[in-house]
């Protein structure tokens, strides 16, 4: 892809809009009172847009389309899981968590189980989950900028997003103000919906699959290049050839220098080394990166083996239960005035997310026809960015590409901003406050460490690395939250045991996977998604250890349980700031509605 000035301008505009909007609204609500109390009069519809805006990350915007392009039907579980996580959150957590008055996960652990030690442990896991979630966001930003500005190496985009976010947090410009995040949702929806509509219209106008001379999406044949393609391999890759091709190559293939035409016969695999350039003529079939379905028929078909079946179940479990362990999502629920509003917000979120996910799926399917060259290198996350230029070369494609690139940057900025703020908040109040009076150090750490990790670690598929973070959330906080809310007999020792064992298992799997990625990808596939084992183990650990330590049940358990579950009308809700500043309704009346944001 050549330099796209429109896209660079779009990205700059999104960054500027985010910064100025956040800066302006943070000035309007500048005191602690405004900040804490006024926020809780936000209507559930806008709040839901804000939750969705913060939640729709690079994994949703780019990752889903990329995985649909590569894995086909099996990848559809990602959008399902990303949405269904909110249903689980709503059914088991939303209202009671809101009524408990806890602001963060460590707050909840301490309030419910009364243990400073457990608070420290959960702080550790919040920081870990937040940072792990940030790494693929930053890597995605690097990839996006590299697509738009081919001369920029991948670390530039990651550094730009990290710096913009950290500077914003320094200046108080990204205090997760509701209106900014809500704006981000609608921006992202527009940035993916509008290009998708135009591209679908162009696709139909081209005469569909037949008019393009592409492989039909249900035919048992590999996809074909619709025009001559040049593929530059940037990390070593193994490709599988389903139908013989004659690529022109310059570089190293199969441990031998290659220069000129070579012949790859059907059914072989080839290792293409970094820096190699491959050229394919129009109409040739596409060699596909190892591990992905090669022909369109198997791409279309879900679950092709028993290994696939278990991986799918593991993924479903992780995504369904992992959402409630994401720190930046839970913080948002505190903005609701009461438990009932928290439930309604979640319902709206389900609607907004369902609306959004239609489009990445369509883009993924379209790019199977138009941009199959991404399958050669396996960098399918670029699908949503590369597609517009292929489908409409010229000005229209540049503008569409600019819109998607800007939307992708909105995704990186809002999610990373929310994560850095919530991780820094937890880091500061629980660990650093004792020694440093400076919140900025905490945000520097919360943004800087993930940046370093993003530069060091090899890039996998965005959505898959996100899947690991969800597995970590599902194996640590999900058991503690669900059992803490619904089970009377949980003790802090049980909760700590569940977190340590569940989290430890996921981290071990993650460590092995990363290590194997540097040493030749030998790790079995189920280690990439261990939730099927770790989540039940974590639940069991909490139950068994709690049963063994029944004398440690906190004395005020019944009172806390009543506060969490009693209907809001009875007025048991106790917030730290209602006690301090008066109820939300009072404040609104006093402020003449100025803070009804």
């Amino acid at each position: 892809m050549t330099l796209n000035l429109w896209a660079v301008a779009g990205i700059a505009l999104v960054g500027l809009a985010t910064f100025s909007l956040g800066f302006r609204s943070s000035r309007l609500a500048s005191t602690t009172q405004d900040f804490l109390v006024a926020r809780r009069t936000v209507r559930s519809r806008r709040n839901a847009a804000a939750v969705s805006g913060e939640y729709l990350s690079a994994a949703s915007f780019l990752g889903v389309a990329g995985l649909v392009l590569k894995d086909g039907a099996d990848a559809l579980w990602y959008p399902i899981g990303f949405t269904a996580g909110y249903l689980a959150l709503m059914l088991f957590v939303a209202a009671p968590l809101r009524r408990s008055g806890a602001y963060t996960l460590p707050d909840f652990c301490e309030a419910r189980l009364g243990s400073r030690g457990l608070r420290g442990l959960s702080t550790g896991f919040v920081v870990l989950i937040g940072m792990l979630y940030l790494v693929p966001q930053l890597q995605g930003a690097g990839m996006t900028l590299h697509q738009v500005l081919p001369s920029a190496p991948t670390w530039v985009g990651a550094a730009v997003v990290a710096v913009v976010v950290i500077v914003n947090v320094f200046g108080g410009g990204m205090r997760a103000i509701t209106v900014v995040q809500a704006f981000q949702y609608w921006l992202k929806l527009f940035a993916i919906a509008a290009p998708t509509f135009v591209m679908c219209a162009l696709f139909i106008g081209d005469g569909g699959v037949r008019g393009l001379d592409a492989t039909g999406l249900s035919e048992p044949l590999p996809p074909r290049f619709t025009s001559a393609a040049v593929v530059r391999v940037e990390t070593d890759v193994v490709v599988r050839v389903d139908e013989s091709v004659r690529p022109w190559a310059s570089g190293r293939i199969d441990n031998a220098p290659a220069n000129g035409h070579s012949y790859w016969s059907a059914g072989t695999t080839h290792t293409v080394e970094q820096g190699t350039e491959l050229r394919f003529a129009a109409g040739e079939s596409v060699p596909v990166v190892e591990g992905a379905p090669t022909d369109n028929q198997s791409w279309l078909r879900p679950v092709s083996g028993s290994g696939d079946l278990l991986t799918t179940y593991s993924l479903i479990l992780a995504l369904f239960l992992g959402t409630m362990g994401l720190p930046h999502v839970l913080v948002r629920f505190y903005t609701n005035p009461d438990g009932r509003a928290a439930r309604r917000t979640t319902l709206h979120v389900l609607l907004l997310l369902s609306l959004f996910y239609v489009f990445p799926m369509l883009i993924g399917a379209l790019s199977r026809v138009y941009t199959p060259e991404l399958l050669v290198t396996g960098t399918t996350d670029a699908a949503a960015l590369a597609l517009p230029m292929k489908i409409a070369p010229g000005l229209l494609g540049q503008i569409l590409g600019a819109v998607t690139a800007a939307g992708a940057f909105a995704a990186f900025l809002s999610t990373s901003g929310g994560l850095v703020v919530s991780v820094a908040g937890v880091l500061y109040t629980d660990w650093l406050k004792r020694w440093f009076r400076d919140f900025r150090l905490a945000s520097g750490i919360a943004g800087g460490v993930p940046l370093a990790l993003a530069l060091v670690l090899k890039q996998g598929d965005i959505s898959m690395s996100i899947g690991m973070t969800f597995a970590l959330g599902a194996s640590t906080f999900c058991p503690v939250l669900v059992l803490g809310i619904w089970w009377r007999k949980i003790t802090w020792i049980g909760a700590a045991a569940g977190m340590v064992i569940g989290g430890g298992l996921v981290l071990a799997a993650l460590g092995v996977t990363i290590f194997s990625r540097f040493t030749g990808d030998w790790a079995p596939e189920y280690l990439q998604q261990p939730a099927l084992v770790t989540v039940p183990v974590a639940f069991l650990a909490v139950v068994i250890m709690s049963k063994a330590t029944q004398s440690r049940i906190p004395a005020d358990t019944n009172r806390i349980r009543m506060r969490m579950h009693a209907p809001d009308r009875l007025g048991f809700i106790r917030d730290r700031d209602i006690a301090r500043f008066g109820s939300a309704a009072d404040r609104t009346r006093l402020a003449n509605g100025r803070h009804r944001r």
Partner: protein, 130 residues
Amino acid sequence: MSGGREDTAPAARPRRKRVVLADSRAPVTVLRTVIELEEQTSWAEEVVRGFIRTQFWTAVRLAGIVVVVFGSLPLVFFLVPELSEVSVAGVSLPWLLLGVMPFPLLFGVGYWYNVLAERHERDFVDMVEK
């Protein structure tokens, strides 16, 4: 965001306040039962425990619907691979089942839970107020 709250709160200007002896809007009975709930008498404990149980099983049942539907899909696709040859309106059936069907289902279940949970809460408040 959550740091330094105490330090940054400026001293609020004293405001004129309306002082009333009793708020006529709140029925006296509510006050009495709420106090009883707050004091954790054995009656209150039993009532609250029953209410929590109702809410919990409602959530579990609705989650069960989703788990059964989504849990059976991969197994069905695995056992009946011919399903992907069926196509409805030009789109293969598994893609409709995975790409379109789940979202209305999720929203529907969420909506239903919302209705049920709010009804239980109303019932609980009515019972307590009696």
